[in-house]
């Protein structure tokens, strides 16, 4: 009788510990991946500064030069033009004001 109580209690204890550990692990992993993936890295006007305590080598792929001299233009010009009424300057002023006041 005593033995079966001990075994049942052990199973319950280990089972609960496993489930709690599993849930905490999943929650932590999910938040780390999700924040790494979608958090905005600053903005165009205020790019996020690199953390100074990490020293990293710049492994960005080197951009080799590409020559387009061999391409001889033969046909008509590229692109279709449209002109629209739009006071884009006032939109830029409003945004500039917002950025200045921050």
């Amino acid at each position: 009788m005593m033995e079966s109580i001990v075994i049942t209690t052990s199973i319950l204890l280990y089972g609960t510990a496993f489930i709690v550990g599993f849930i905490i692990g999943r929650m932590t992993v999910n938040s780390v991946i999700s924040e790494y993936t979608i958090d905005a890295k600053g903005s165009f006007f205020k790019p996020e500064a690199k953390k100074s305590k990490y020293v990293e080598i710049d492994e960005k792929k080197f951009v080799t030069s590409i020559s387009i001299d061999s391409l001889e233009k033969k046909g008509k010009d590229l692109g279709t033009q449209t002109i629209v009424e739009d006071d884009v300057g006032s939109s830029a002023s409003k945004l500039a004001m917002l950025k200045k006041n921050k």
Binding site: S65, K74, G75, K94
Partner: protein, 334 residues
């Protein structure tokens, strides 16, 4: 002076301010199709046949047709045109594609009006639904900065959906959500008072619809694309034309998938602020121009449990030019 440049998988759009109160847009279809003649007579015949089209001749004798003419020529030959970019970025492995993109961008952006003229171009955010070592936004950005600098511009990159916010959220005090539905990707930005809080992308958009509909109907992608752009269909509704019926069905699935991704990304995310008012959601991009798109998107957003309060879902004022307009505004402010 300053310029804005939307470097998209399907369209390249340049925006510049003309005379007071006017903006000039220059659009170019981001596509090419190569024809390699086998004999001198064929060379002459092909060149004659290309009169009035946009094309260049390469030093190996081949003709590279560019833009919508490339798509038309590909359709004529029951083939598919190629793209210099794939899913929002240029690949370092595709040398031909890089060369053609360089040519197109230099031609579309033209010479700067003064040395060091500011130009802002858009780049996609890191996708949440794909890990692909060939998807390298940093490399893509460097390629474009290098070529625009060679032409004489002072170039800087901006996140595509952030640019869309600057174009479309002015009357909302730059607070809301924007989605740019391009050909290769959907780019998302959540903005609060002019500061991006969350930016991400998904890798299924208009091209995915074309591809899936092409597989289902046995037609080349270019033909599906042409039918999609010229045909009359409503997103999610059956159609007598089998290609359009497939397109409408895959559009439905695409919107469902994207709204689910959006809900999953926002749900319980720590960076999302407590917005005091419901948010406007603005959609733009060529893929969003299909009939019934905005209504179905709004419905799916609700059905799929989008966790933030939504004031309205609206189309950008000019869905094809909105991103380049945002780039232009950023260039004028920087």
């Amino acid at each position: 002076m300053a310029k804005g440049l939307d470097v998209g998988t399907s369209f390249i759009v340049l925006a510049e301010e003309g005379s007071k109160g006017k903006v000039t847009y220059k659009d170019f279809r981001d596509a090419f199709y190569i024809i390699k003649p086998t004999t001198p007579i064929a060379t002459k015949m092909i060149e004659k046949g290309l009169a009035g089209k946009t094309f260049v001749k390469d030093d190996d004798g081949s003709f590279i047709i560019l833009g919508k003419d490339a798509i038309e020529k590909a359709v004529e030959r029951n083939d598919s045109a190629k793209r210099p970019m794939y899913k929002g970025v240029v690949s370092s492995k595709e040398k031909d594609a890089r060369r053609i993109l360089t040519y197109i961008l230099k031609e579309v952006s033209g010479a700067p009006s003064e040395p060091g003229e500011k130009i802002v171009f858009c780049v996609p955010a890191q996708p949440v639904d794909q890990e692909d070592e060939d998807f390298d936004v940093g490399y893509h950005e460097d390629v474009i900065v290098k070529l625009l600098t060679e032409v004489g511009y002072s170039a800087r990159a901006i996140n595509e959906a952030e640019a869309l916010c600057y174009s479309e959220l002015e009357k909302d005090d730059y607070t809301g959500i924007t989605l740019s539905w391009g050909a290769g990707m959907v780019n998302v930005c959540v903005m609060l008072n002019g500061e991006p809080v969350v930016t991400f992308s998904t890798t299924k958009s208009g091209d995915w619809v074309d591809r899936m509909a092409a597989v289902a109907t046995g037609e080349p992608d270019s033909i599906v694309q042409a039918e999609k752009e010229n045909g009359d269909f409503t997103v999610g509704q059956p159609n007598d034309n089998q290609v359009l019926s497939a397109v409408a069905s895959y559009y439905d699935r695409l919107i469902d998938y994207t709204t689910k991704q959006l809900a999953a990304a926002m749900e319980g995310h720590k960076s999302i602020p407590k917005f005091k008012d419901p948010l406007p959601v603005v959609v733009a991009g060529g893929t969003s121009k299909a009939k019934g798109f905005v209504d179905l998107f709004a419905k799916k957003l609700e059905d799929n449990g989008f966790p933030l309060p939504v004031k309205e879902v609206r189309h950008a004022t000019d869905p094809l030019h909105a991103v380049s307009r945002g780039c232009l505004i950023a260039a004028q402010v920087m």
